[in-house]
């Protein structure tokens, strides 16, 4: 963390100092930078890092009604990792998040490609159009899928009106597929941006060179474009995968009993069930399991891309 003197006024920092010569290092400059950024870092330390560390501590304690027993125990993790209900929920959360993130990356790549290569002067406009829905309420977006997929919803009533079906299709909503579709809808744009940025950074002359040397379009993609945009793809995958593992609204609204995910169990432990230590252990387990799975997918993905190139 920032080891700077917090007493220093940011405004007192020597603005007029010209940047030091490359390679030169001024401790004064480092101190000014650290002093200036320290309020923000301290804020995040107190409201992000510290709370998570406290949850981590809770996961090793036990709760008896309102009193917390601070004796170290692994019982919560044992429950989280052996009770079928939690394993089931965790497994489904991981599978759903993995499906959403892989689909999001696959769908986002051509979009980002189109905007980067064919967007011309309207690149910004395309990006804006794709990201606008992201800035609207997450809750409302998921609610709109309930309206679309519901038993008496838009899709069923519309299809019946058109005479294509006689009675509503029951399997549209309240299952994992509905959850995956709605999550994909909400997170797709998050996958487009990092891939777009990495495509923009790509040196186009490399593609021309490959073309001149006789590479086909597919070869150019597999040997140049894909490997060089892999960091963007990885970023896109992670920014969708990790947060969606813990999604609460979507399974709750349109998941039914088939689509319940781990967040519902976590919420229950911090709410009605009032077993914070177990809720904490479930949270930590979820984060670790999601990171491990994501890391594994990234490793396998990199290997695959290298093998294809």
């Amino acid at each position: 963390m920032a080891a700077a003197s917090p007493g220093r006024e940011p405004d007192q920092s020597p603005l007029h100092r010209t940047a030091p010569a490359p390679g030169g290092w001024r401790t004064g400059e480092a101190a000014s930078g650290l002093a200036l950024i320290s309020p923000t870092l301290l804020y995040a330390a107190f409201l992000l890092l510290l709370p998570i560390l406290i949850v981590f501590a809770y996961s090793f304690w036990t709760q008896d009604f309102l009193t917390i027993d601070h004796t170290f125990t692994l019982a919560n993790y044992r429950a989280a990792l052996t009770e079928p209900i939690y394993l089931d929920l965790l497994g489904r959360s991981l599978i759903n998040a993995l499906s959403v993130s892989v689909l999001a990356v696959l769908m986002a790549y051509p979009l980002a490609y189109f905007i980067s290569f064919y967007g011309g002067a309207s690149k910004n406009l395309w990006l804006f159009l794709i990201t606008v829905p992201c800035w609207t309420s997450y809750l409302l977006r998921i609610m709109s899928w309930k309206i679309v997929l519901g038993y008496n919803g838009v899709l069923n009533s519309g299809l019946m009106r058109l005479g294509l079906i006689d009675k509503p299709i029951e399997t549209l909503v309240y299952n994992s597929n509905a959850v995956i579709i709605a999550l994909l809808h909400s997170w797709l744009a998050f996958a487009v941006l990092p891939i777009f940025v990495s495509l923009e950074k790509l040196d186009r002359s490399l593609i021309e060179a490959a073309h001149d040397l006789g590479d086909t379009a597919v070869q150019r993609f597999l040997r140049i474009i894909l490997p060089l945009t892999l960091p963007g793809v990885t970023y896109a995958f992670l920014i969708v995968m990790i947060p969606t593992v813990g999604d609460y609204i979507t399974p709750k609204l349109i998941g039914g009993s088939d689509g319940v995910m781990i967040a519902t169990a976590i919420q229950a432990q911090f709410g009605k069930a009032a077993n914070w230590p177990l809720g904490a252990a479930l949270s930590i387990t979820t984060m670790i399991a999601a990171s491990l799975l994501a890391g594994l997918v990234v490793l396998v993905g990199r290997r695959l891309v290298r093998a294809l190139a």
Binding site: Y43, L47, W126, T136, S144, T244
Partner: protein, 272 residues
């Protein structure tokens, strides 16, 4: 196909992008569509135009209170996130110091965390130190999630700024504080406005933290969540939802146009 950089012609991809945009926009468009529908059931066929669901909103004290709460939280979050963002963005763009990459990664960590885990962590710490959930807690928590957005806007703003203007100001005898106030701030003003609007919008639409931390004072999304249990209230929720969609889209368009105008001005300066 010769000369086109890859696999498809732009044509196929154009079709694809139009399909994706329909996928993104159509479900959301149903919310305003059915908010004007003269029927309690949300299904086809539509049964005539009405404004009664909107009319019902104005008299709804509970909803107005939630709206006021949202506004209050949004303003606090926008100011706090932008202020912390300015400090961090200035430090990151102006100074070299050890741990810069780690600091950037740490501040963007909320984007890579399941929100519910941050929410229960904040709830735990608030209750552990004997405080109660409140709108202040919601605002403090949401600021953490707005910081990455504020910072990305502000870092771009500070990077685009012509540093020589600051040096000129110093050489002409202005103090450091004066230079920052009279030269730096006006130059990055569009980024600051963008950051304020973006973080306000994120706060307005944020649900999970508000749900866990608001206690007895709901924000608009939490109010909507409570209403969703009652099927009969769905049309009025749709009316409220439509207004919120409109607000988000207007705000984000405003933020984008401020950013674009500043960008164009910068390009012209470079050309001159």
């Amino acid at each position: 196909m010769k000369g086109t950089p890859f696999l498809f012609k732009g044509g196929w991809l154009t079709l694809y992008i139009v399909l994706i945009l329909s996928f993104l926009y159509l479900p959301i468009a149903l919310i305003p569509l059915f908010s004007f529908n003269n029927a309690a059931a949300v299904a086809f066929p539509l049964s005539g135009f009405t404004l009664r669901w909107y009319d019902a909103l104005w008299g709804n004290k509970e909803m107005l209170r939630a709206a006021l709460n949202s506004l209050l939280v949004g303003i606090i979050v926008a100011c706090l996130s932008t202020l912390l963002g300015i400090l961090a963005a200035r430090a990151l763009t102006r100074y070299r110091f050890p741990g810069k990459r780690a600091a950037t990664a740490f501040l963007s960590a909320p984007l890579f965390l399941p929100e519910i885990i941050v929410a229960v962590s904040l709830l735990t710490i608030i209750l552990s130190v004997g405080l109660t959930p409140s709108l202040v807690a919601v605002a403090l928590g949401q600021t953490i999630f707005c910081l990455p957005y504020s910072m990305s806007v502000l870092v771009a703003g500070f990077e685009g700024m012509d540093r020589s203007l600051e040096e000129a100001s110093r050489d002409l005898g202005e103090t450091a504080a004066g230079t920052f106030r009279r030269v730096t701030l006006p130059l990055v003003a569009p980024a600051i406005v963008s950051s304020l609007i973006v973080s306000f919008t994120v706060s307005l639409d944020e649900f999970i933290l508000a749900f866990f931390l608001a206690g007895t004072e709901p924000t608009l999304p939490v109010y909507i969540w409570g209403q969703l249990r009652f099927a009969a209230k769905l049309p009025s929720v749709l009316a409220l939802g439509s207004l919120m969609l409109l607000a988000s889209i207007l705000l984000i368009t405003l933020a984008e146009s401020v950013r674009r105008r500043a960008e164009r001005r910068l390009e012209q300066q470079v050309l001159l």
